[in-house]
């Protein structure tokens, strides 16, 4: 039982990182129909900022908060520079613009941080023990942050006028424009908020993943898997998919074989998509009017 609980918590923690990343990608996908390959840049950017700020003596918490603001601004800039100019372009150039962002971002981070470096965990290193189960506070923080963001997003989308504007834009771009919604502004804000979600995931992961230009590669891949599993464009789907991928990978490694690793998540998605191609919460037709 101890082994199961230990693996489950570790899986949920990893899954929370994937889910937060997937949430950011889903927001962008819903608002703009663009699959953002450059999301790894947001994941890296905040830890890089924190790394340099803490080295300069800025307290960790303050540095983390400042980095989130920094990534929000970065998100605005990236959207303005790469997506707005391609607002009316075909889908493929838009996606390639995000790929370009990814490579440029990785290049910049590689030039700044050649050797992977560590930033301390926000919750310290002291482990909480419940019976034989060791609870890493950073793991619990990841799970907690995911829950908070999920609730916040649901409230914003369902209960606020901003949410209604976002939903209207997502469901019918032309209709939203006709009723006076500034869709370009919606895109801009969505992109920046999604960037912050990626940054939060990065800050939670950084003490384990270490800060480097490659830190986002695996996590973003797994987030894509989670998105596909939960259903592209679905917020609950992104969360459930991310968590399922994290837990499946861990439990499969523990109980089947450590050689399976991330392959278990891909196997799961294959099985689910064979039965339900649109993913768990996805709808069969994802095209926007």
């Amino acid at each position: 039982m101890t082994t199961f609980l230990q693996s489950l918590i570790a899986g949920l923690s990893e899954g929370s990182i994937f889910a937060l990343l997937a949430l950011g990608m889903v927001l962008v996908l819903r608002a703009t129909t663009i699959l953002n390959f450059g999301h790894a840049v947001n994941f890296m950017a905040a830890p890089v900022m924190v790394l340099f700020m803490t080295k300069a003596g800025v307290p960790l918490l303050l540095a983390s908060a400042v980095s989130l603001v920094g990534v929000f601004i970065l998100g605005l800039i990236i959207e303005r520079v790469t997506i707005q100019p391609l607002f009316n372009a075909e889908h493929l150039p838009q996606v390639f613009a995000t790929v370009a962002v990814l490579f440029i971002g990785e290049g910049v981070v590689r030039s700044l941080v050649a050797v992977p470096q560590r930033i301390p965990p926000l919750m310290g290193n002291t482990v909480i023990r419940v019976g034989d189960v060791a609870l890493n506070p950073q793991y619990l923080l990841s799970i907690g942050v995911l829950i908070v963001f999920l609730i916040a997003l649901v409230v914003v989308f369902q209960r606020t006028s901003t949410g209604r504007v976002l939903r209207a834009t997502t469901e019918n771009l032309r209709g939203a424009s006709l009723v006076g919604i500034n869709t370009k502004r919606v895109f801009l804000i969505t992109w920046a908020v999604a960037a912050v979600l990626g940054a939060v995931a990065g800050l939670l992961a950084a003490p384990v993943y270490l800060v480097s230009a490659d830190m986002g590669a695996r996590a973003v891949n797994m987030a894509f898997v989670g998105m596909a599993l939960g259903g592209f464009g679905s917020i609950p789907g992104a969360v459930l998919g991310g968590l399922l991928v994290g837990v499946t990978n861990l439990l499969a490694s523990t109980y089947i074989s450590t050689t399976l690793g991330d392959g278990a998540g891909f196997l799961l998605i294959l099985l689910v998509l064979l039965v339900r191609p649109q993913g768990i919460f996805g709808t069969p037709i994802g095209a926007r009017a």
Binding site: A114, V208, S212, A217, V220, N221, T258
Partner: protein
């Protein structure tokens, strides 16, 4: 298309383009003139051009510190007047610890930069990928820290190891494990955790062979064999698996990144057994990554240096690094493969003006019990396709660990015998 796929496509396309361009531009890159003739590429009246390569960025960039020390030692040779009046001109390339990039770097160094010889390579996978190019060209090559035994077994005529390969490290590991058995009732149960790639498998294979060849293998029961992904971010499954196997020791062959993940989870999940590894993952670096002395307690790394980092023997390397790479914290990573420099200095000095590839190889084969200062004496021998030792530099390693009560005190070095640690 996935990011990895896109990356691969771009790398392959770029690789093809560069290779074709270089092939078109170079008429006789590795021609006869480099072999037995009077002149060789990369040599002038005043300079000898050496191509140095290694992981200067990426996940294994910590090994780039070894390349920095090698470069610093060459700079120091230059500062002291060079070799027979010639300055060493270094061209440093980043192989990113990746096969594709290493092949591009080697092609560039040989065909475009036209270096006299190659030095470097800290990652076995990257060096293995580039080895056919090096072998085909015939250019003299001194391996830095890349440790896979397959790099020298079977030996390649123009390739010499300036450091220890994994057999040296796994012999130390084997001695430590079997001595534990001897002093604890005559047997020991161990788990072997292997990084899931050629590098990790090479180490585990070498460890098992060392056990078999030692004749002490019967005292060691490998209860659990598990793998660890190089890009893992959680090793709970591995730690729990080792824990449930109820073993005395764990032998773990993994790069610094996955090792730190394993050690972190091991410490947090209360798995209190010694961990033994080869010479590529160092205690100080792990402390840096983990920030927790308990996590690196009972962590033993094969140590192939002659003495500790603060010793007189290693002082020239430390001073050169401080002089030319002041930002580098001098640690075990900084020493990875550096003995090749004094060896090469000796070979080039002996050669005088006879600087051809064939003469360099012939001169290297005469190196016998050479005191490189940093490690055990180095010997090579006439090429024998059945004897890897004709090309292997350092063959003896010890073990290093950090005292968890005084982690800032630096590493302690012991002979690979359990009683050495018990009686520390």
């Amino acid at each position: 298309m996935s990011r990895r796929k896109i990356t691969s496509t771009i790398i392959i396309a770029a690789g093809l383009a560069v290779t074709l361009t270089l092939a078109a531009c170079s008429s006789s890159g590795g021609g006869e003139e480099n072999g037995g003739g009077e002149t060789a590429q990369g040599v002038t009246a005043d300079t000898i051009k050496i191509g140095l390569f290694g992981p200067m960025s990426g996940n294994a960039a910590v090994y780039g510190k070894g390349i920095n020390t090698i470069a610093a030692m060459y700079e120091e040779i230059n500062a002291n007047g060079g070799i027979n009046g010639r300055q060493i001109e270094l061209i440093i390339e980043d192989d990113e610890c990746a096969g594709d990039t290493a092949r591009l770097a080697i092609t560039k160094l040989i065909q475009q930069d036209k270096v006299f010889m190659l030095h470097g390579g800290e990652c076995s996978g990257a060096v293995k990928a580039a080895m056919p190019l090096i072998k085909e060209s015939g250019i003299p090559y001194l391996i830095a820290g890349a440790a896979d035994h397959a790099l020298v077994s079977p030996p390649t005529k123009n390739v010499f190891h300036g450091w220890a390969d994994n057999t040296s490290g796994t012999n130390a590991d084997m001695e430590f494990v079997t001595s534990y058995a001897k002093q604890n009732g005559g047997s020991v149960k161990i788990a072997v955790v292997t990084q899931a790639d050629d590098w990790g498998k090479g180490w585990t294979k070498s460890f098992k062979e060392a056990l078999k060849e030692s004749g002490k293998g019967d005292s060691v029961e490998i209860v659990k064999e598990i793998s660890l992904a190089p890009d893992t971010t959680d090793a709970t499954a591995q730690v729990q698996s080792v824990k449930s196997a109820d073993v005395d020791l764990a032998v773990v062959y993994a790069y610094p990144d996955p090792m730190s993940v394993f050690l972190r989870n091991k410490s947090q999940q209360g798995l209190d057994i010694p961990v033994i590894t080869g010479q590529g993952t160092f205690p100080e670096d792990q402390l840096d990554r983990l920030g927790s002395p308990e996590a690196v307690g009972k962590f033993f790394s094969a140590y192939c240096m002659a003495d500790t980092l603060d010793s007189k023997a290693l002082a020239p390397f430390k001073e050169a690094t401080a002089k030319y790479y002041p930002k580098d914290t001098f640690d075990l990573s900084s020493m990875l493969g550096v003995t090749g420099v004094p060896v090469n200095e000796q070979i080039l000095t002996n050669l005088g003006d006879d600087l051809t590839w064939d003469s360099w190889i012939a001169q290297a084969e005469t190196i016998k019990d050479f005191e490189a200062g940093a490690a055990q004496p180095i010997s090579y021998g006439p090429y024998d396709e059945s004897d890897p030792n004709t090309r292997l530099g350092v063959t003896t390693c010890q073990l290093a660990y950090l005292d968890e009560k005084d982690p800032k005190g630096g590493i302690a070095v012991i002979a690979p015998d359990w009683s050495e640690w018990v009686n520390r």
